[in-house]
């Protein structure tokens, strides 16, 4: 296995596969511009960019900012990595011309102590070479994974706005045109059935087909599957445990991509590959599924969304994962595959108990299926979907409570200002899903029961809020007390009722004050 580091080829077949890119850069390659600030993907000081020819984004080939502290070296096979040292253009007489991102940050006094700076620069590099930065919130999102304790961020945001989408000429632009194509993707996959890296008694296998995966997994039944690694790597960097056997899903085309299927009934279903990066899902969800986009907006850092995957977020089965409530409310199912075949399971049946799933031995989550709402015709049933995440800090935080609601009403709501009398519509169906309130992501069945069949009224709403007490009893921890969680759980439902009744848009505005946007 190999990757390219600042355009130089690095062989990684004979190295401890649990070595993180950050440790490799600092300890082996002598590139110490990239810093460790937390070793858990929360500060961004270790950010580098990766060009992945095998995984062109749905916005085209692009550099992706990622946390090098969470990236295991073999996961870079076939990729091109650039660090802060690899940005400058070599000029005449050895002169080095900084990249636009470097100049922009320097000239705006966007560095004070300078320790977060290389990471900020690399996030700016992604911004500079992106072609899909259309809205102001995306610039916030691009930088929210880079903590700075000195500047107060104003100059950093100014630099980001200056470089976003600028696509400067130079070394990285040439890299994109040379290596961003499909041919390069083929080269990365190569002919091998299984790519391998091994060292220090540990081994990683990266099969390039499902058949090879089943065979490999049968040989190494104790192996851990790894894809984005944003959760698994914490085992290495925080708990100092090193798995002896890893199987990477990076090279499996079967687990990638997404498509919308239209059934003969006209119903549409969105199939999302389990290893699709969350930043790609987010972009597609913007048009297909605004409530999922809303949940992903404040899901985590851009760097995390660039590596983390939908399948990974579901399979960790964390009670505070954010995509589970969003997908539970949407009525999603998961396709589970093993050597024996495939089965489709309603998502709520995937979560068995605290961090345990219904996956059988040597079975994996291959795809997620999200039923999409049909466009509403006048006078017909209409579905309303919203997702909410409440945390101490809006960006890059784990939720105290997250929730997602989907209700189907018997007919469209009258415009709020109209007040043209008449009974409100009836609630035909309701799916109310919560995270952070129980040991698993959960639906609030009692509250759903209070809504279904009732008129869409504040009375029914209050009955549903009261019923939440039967659905779950949250606990207290450092993210919030039981009182806070229970209160917010009810208030989110109230906020949902008012948002829907007021006809508020499903998408969040730029810099919303709160999860509920009224």
């Amino acid at each position: 296995m190999h990757f390219y580091l600042n355009d130089e080829r690095v062989d990684i077949s004979h190295i401890d596969p649990t070595t993180t890119l950050l440790r490799y850069l600092r300890d082996e390659a002598g590139l110490r511009g990239t810093k460790e600030g937390c070793a858990e993907g929360d500060c961004g000081a270790c950010t580098v960019v990766v060009l992945d020819p095998a995984r062109p984004t749905n916005a085209g080939a692009s550099y992706r900012a990622v946390n090098s502290c969470l990236l295991l070296l073999p996961m870079l096979h076939g990729r091109r990595v650039y660090t802060v040292e690899g940005l400058a253009e070599e000029g005449a007489g050895g002169a080095r011309e900084p990249h636009l991102a470097q100049r922009a940050l320097m000239e705006r006094l966007g560095s004070q102590c300078g320790y977060c700076t290389p990471g900020v620069v690399m996030s700016l590099v992604e911004a500079a070479h992106r072609s899909d930065l259309d809205e102001p919130w995306q610039v916030d999102d691009q930088l929210c994974g880079n903590l700075c304790r000195c500047t107060g961020y104003r100059p950093i945001l100014a630099a980001a706005e200056a470089v976003a989408g600028a696509r400067p000429e130079g070394r990285l632009a040439r890299g994109l045109s040379l290596w961003g194509g499909a041919g390069a993707a083929e080269e990365a996959r190569g002919d091998a059935e299984v790519h391998r890296a091994a060292g220090a008694g540990r081994a990683l296998a990266a099969p390039s087909s499902l058949e090879a995966l089943w065979a490999e997994w049968a040989r190494e039944p104790q192996a851990l599957l790894v894809m984005g690694g944003t959760d698994l790597s914490l085992m290495i960097t925080k708990r100092f445990e090193r798995p002896a056997r890893l199987i990477s899903l990076e090279l499996l085309p079967e687990l990638r991509g997404s498509e919308v299927e239209t059934l003969p009934s006209g119903e549409r279903r969105w199939w999302i590959g389990a290893t699709e990066a969350l930043s790609d899902v987010e972009r597609l969800a913007r048009d297909l599924c605004p409530s999922l986009e809303r949940m992903l907006r404040f899901f985590g850092a851009r760097q995390i969304k660039n590596r983390g995957t939908l399948g990974g977020n579901l399979c960790t089965a964390s009670p505070i994962g954010d995509t589970p409530p969003a997908l539970l409310a949407l009525g999603a199912s998961v396709e589970l595959r093993s050597a024996a075949g495939a089965r489709l399971l309603p998502l709520e049946e995937l979560f068995v108990s605290y961090r345990r799933t219904a996956l059988r031995p040597q079975e994996l989550l291959a795809r997620v299926c999200v039923p999409l709402p049909a466009p509403a015709a006048p006078g017909e049933e209409t579905r309303h979907d919203r997702a909410y995440k409440v945390s101490k800090r809006q960006e890059l935080d784990i939720s105290a409570v997250s929730a997602a609601f989907s209700v189907t009403l018997s007919r469209p709501l009258a415009p709020a200002a109209g007040g043209a009398g008449g009974a409100p519509p009836v609630v035909v169906a309701a799916r109310l899903a919560y995270g952070g309130v129980a040991a698993i992501p959960t639906r609030a069945r009692a509250a759903e029961g209070a809504l279904v069949g009732a008129l869409w009224s504040e009375e029914a709403l209050e009955r549903a809020v009261a019923a939440l007490a039967q659905d779950f009893t949250p606990i207290s921890d450092h993210r919030g007390s039981a009182w806070y969680r229970a209160t917010v759980a009810g208030n989110l439902l109230r906020g949902f009722w008012h948002e829907v009744s007021a006809g508020a848009p499903a998408r969040l505005p730029y810099r919303p004050t709160a999860a509920v946007s009224l």
Partner: protein
Amino acid sequence: MNSSRHTPLSPAGSPLHHDALHDSALRHVTGEALYVDDLPEPPRTLVGWPVTARVARGRITRLDVEAARAAPGVRAVLTAADVPGVNDVSPFSHDEPLLAAGEVFAVGQVIALVVGESYDACRAGAARVVVEVEPLPALLTIEAAEAAGSYHGTPHFMRRGDVDAALAAAPVRLSGEVRTGGQEHFYLETHAALVVPQELNHLLVHSSTQHPSEVQAKVAEVLGLSRSAVVVEARRMGGGFGGKETQAAHVACLAALAAARLRRPVKLCLNRDQDMVMTGKRHPFVSRYEAGFSAQGDLLALRVRAVSDGGWAADLSGAILDRCLFHLDGAYYIPALEFEGRVAKTHLASNTAFRGFGGPQGAAVIEEVLHRAAERLGLDPAAVQRRNFYGEAPRDHTPYHQRVEGDRSARVFDELTARARYAERRAEVEAWNARHRWQKRGIAYQPVKFGISFTASHLNQAGALVLIYADGGVQINHGGTEMGQGLHAKMLAVAAHELGLRAEQVRVMHTSTDKVPNTSATAASSGSDLNGQAVAAACVTLRERLRPVAARLLRCAEADVRFEGGRASDVARPDRAVPFEEVTQAAYMAQVSLSAAGFYRTPDVHYDRAAGRGRPFHYFAYGGAVVEVELSTLTGEHRVTRVDVLHDAGRSLIPSIDVGQVEGGFVQGLGWLTREELVWSPEGHLKTHSPDTYKIPALGDAPRAFHVALLTDAAQEGVIHGSKAVGEPPFLLAIGVLGALRHALQSARGGAELAALDAPCTPERILRALATPPGA
């Protein structure tokens, strides 16, 4: 976001008072800037891993390191028994053992240091260290310490007038409690040291420290050496904020102990979790107060008892408490008062300096008092603030009997409230609130008056050493350290100004104890005030030595020589000039000394703590902020939406640098007051020990509309080139966030009185405040 820029970059003449980049800016963005962990390790370098206490208080009944010593790759396991000198790293109180001796006083206290070939080897070794501790009752809150009578040091009192009589006679009486939480520094670079043995028993210590001289002193004491045997070099820090004022010594001494013992280079860099668990934070405070006001909102009397949580060792807690008391007056004159301050001794990490050094905790108290009074009286809090500012005698005396001369509070208030349209926006906010059920806005004014000087008066001294080479190259050395605040950029500008050079023609050297001895910490916002004077003095000495040389070259009178633009010229005939390097070459040939030391001590500062009386401050720095917030009554989430600041940096040495300090200080203060919550388990374990659980502000928390301006025509007499210190004062501007939240809450609660709003105002605290009955 936008911020005003006053002056163009790259001036032709003196770089003083013009915008400039950070001197390391290019090195920062290219990754060339080196921090301690980035330095190339000398051959045979070992690393260290501390073994720390897991109970908050107890007696060590067994400590067995033999199995760990035998672990593969482990070269030593050091305990208190291995300390050849004094087993203490405290700044002066002698209560902080480097390695626990017999007892442990906090979770995270270091019991042993494993030294080995790699971190993996050290960790494996650490797992074999046997520590048995018999737990003893631990005090984990201020209340518990108070109940047990557990304190550090002695109480501090300030008194004026008959406070009981004044309170009794006051038409409006308030009493309550203000609680502000601790704050983790979260410098992006954690504590780090690399110690390299030199010839004989000498040591070179690379330390991420704000106080190289103290690291030097502590290493020498721990090892039983003379300070002359230890050189401490501090190139730059990846942030300090006070957290590396005293506590860098601990990590450096551990590494030094190992390096001296093994005669090998040793590096010790704490990882984030270790750093957050082991090291101290901003002091939490609980302050109980009684206040009396006139019906018009004049503050008549104030009694405050402020108690901080010092943690297990004294560290700088006493001085931090003092500065809290020095700022309980905020910007306001208080006719009758009694302040009492105490430091509770608990069994948590030993709290330490953090930007503001107790000042923000003090100012937060009086701001809450004034806001409550205004709410009680139905007045605009800004009007109450305005009428209580210091003024003419007798309204010009602080609680510690220093006169306030040339108070700028009213000027800043009037200029800023006009510029930020405070009054109109307050009306707009209230109209908006009347239309919105689920979200409420609030707006507030926040004044800052911050005393500048170390309150331990002898610390107000600084030295510099300037070297000029025959070819005209200039190196400056000074005792200050660079932690991102732009001190070096300012010192370059000061030196260049005095020598008539461009800043790029001067090089600032790494701070090192073998260039300038006995330095004070770069702290108390004093870095450029003190070191600037010392650098200027050295440069003036050298310039005046060069003057006769230049006069000979120019064949003019010495008094007519002017050094400017990299040349010496004849004032009478400006066309006649010689390049600086020609003058220095001639000086060398003429056997003129081209190195000089400079020294400065702040005149006229003194304080008698027992009497609560003196002149602790050379001057005051001022500022004002208008802060607007919006909150959700459903979730308690909130956002600072707009901030306007007018800050007094005197005649700013480098405005662009100072604006950066103002913006960064504000956002750091915003984090302290709203986002950053430290949570401990009932056993005294810090639960929030990484950015996963401890949330400093992220980019989206900074106000989108952020208008920062520096006060103009504001030169300060008696300070380097008319400037003012700017490191800490802007931090206090963020207290306006609490005022604005109070305003929004008052709106949401239909005007019902809210007695207390504890910080940090997390979303949960806001939701609780919304659910709190009136007056409770």
